[in-house]
Amino acid sequence: MLLRLFSTLLLMVLLAFGSGSASAQNTAQSDAEPRSETGGAQTLTDIMARQNGEKVDDYFRRNADGSGNTAAGIADQLGTLGGTSDAELYRALRYGSADITVSARGAAAEVIIQDGGMNWLKFRSGPLIKVGGYLLVGMLITLASFYFLRGKIRIDGAKTGHKLLRFNSLERFGHWLLAGSFILLGITGLITLFGRMFIIPLIGKEAFATIAEAGKWVHNNVAWAFMLGLLLVFLMWVLENIPNRDDLRWLAKGGGLFSKGVHPPARKFNAGQKIIFWAVVILGASISISGLSMLFPFQLPMFAKTFALVNDTGVLQLLGMSALPETLAPHQEMQYSQIWHTIVAFIFIAIILAHIYLGSVGMEGAFDAMGSGEVETQWAKEHHSIWYDDVVRETGVDPDKAK
């Protein structure tokens, strides 16, 4: 009896140890290779994580491309395919490790599958269009509200009827070269971006194709006039747009934009115009570089280098963000260029809408500066008093006293 009891206990202890060690073995195996249950393939957890937009380490697929030791032996079941299965071949194409020979030239031609393109497409047709569209509509509503609340900013004092040259013909030419090309680029760019959403439903695909093709030609070629105008404007006005203490005083009074009869002193360019100038220069240069990158596809990659520079600053690590990718496929470079080009364009257009408003319907006498080049002296005294005094002193001629 005792012997039977002892044997039972011994058996139970042995079984408990046995199952425990087996369980530990399974756990260890599971920790070492979490996809052992699927033979190395992705698990339901991987699929669910990917569908939830979480980052999945895809090493187990990326490396299973049939190359090197991962290929099946020639005598194995897959030997007839040279040891590489179709799935492995497609993974090699997808992750860019396949040995490809193409007759088309350029590194981009060797990229057969680029699944990052789907992220680009979703971002382009989703958040990019929505946020950008709201920004432009928001700016138009803001300007319309400002107009109804503040009204047109009039010349407060009595008009003298005398004129003063504010911008010479070269300055006006440079401004209109930049402005005219910007408007054409803005319109054709918006047509390209919003065409599928708003124009195709109205006029159909074939009619839109003609417009889109013409718009592409305009966008690609007018870009050179824009870059020339940008260079011209920068060279002509950079010295007069260097910030100084007068700008702080001007900004402190809101430029007199929000209250009647307030006219903070300003030189040739006030602080508001300087902000516009530097925004145009910086955004214009940036949009030109990304535009050139798209104008010459795959030849001017810039984002991998830019990302490396950003990573080197260590700012992202300080903010707890992961490093930006420093190796990009040729197509990814183009996709980043397109997205950056569009983001900059939206901000640029929003700023220029405000500039157009103040230079036309928003302020009496402002358009003359770029129209005829000559402004009413009372306007000059109110909005650019320091500049007016400088001109009178330098020329020795007071337009209001000249016969």
Binding site: S103, A104, R105, G106, A108, A109, S169, R172, F173, H175, W176, L177, A179, G180, S181, L184, W217, V218, N220, N221, V222, A223, W224, A225, L228, G229, F296, P297, F298, Q299, G371, S372, G373
Partner: protein
């Protein structure tokens, strides 16, 4: 507004010139990314 008109003419001239120049030096995407055995039309 003479400057505006001159600038508009300049935009047209620059655009036509750039189109012609880029085509002449074979800098189109089509020329750059295709070989003798590939045709993209």
């Amino acid at each position: 507004m003479k400057s505006f008109v001159v600038a508009c003419v300049a935009i047209v001239v620059i655009s036509l010139t750039s189109s012609y120049a880029l085509k002449s030096i074979g800098f189109s995407t089509q020329d750059q990314t295709t070989g003798a055995a590939v045709r993209v039309e």
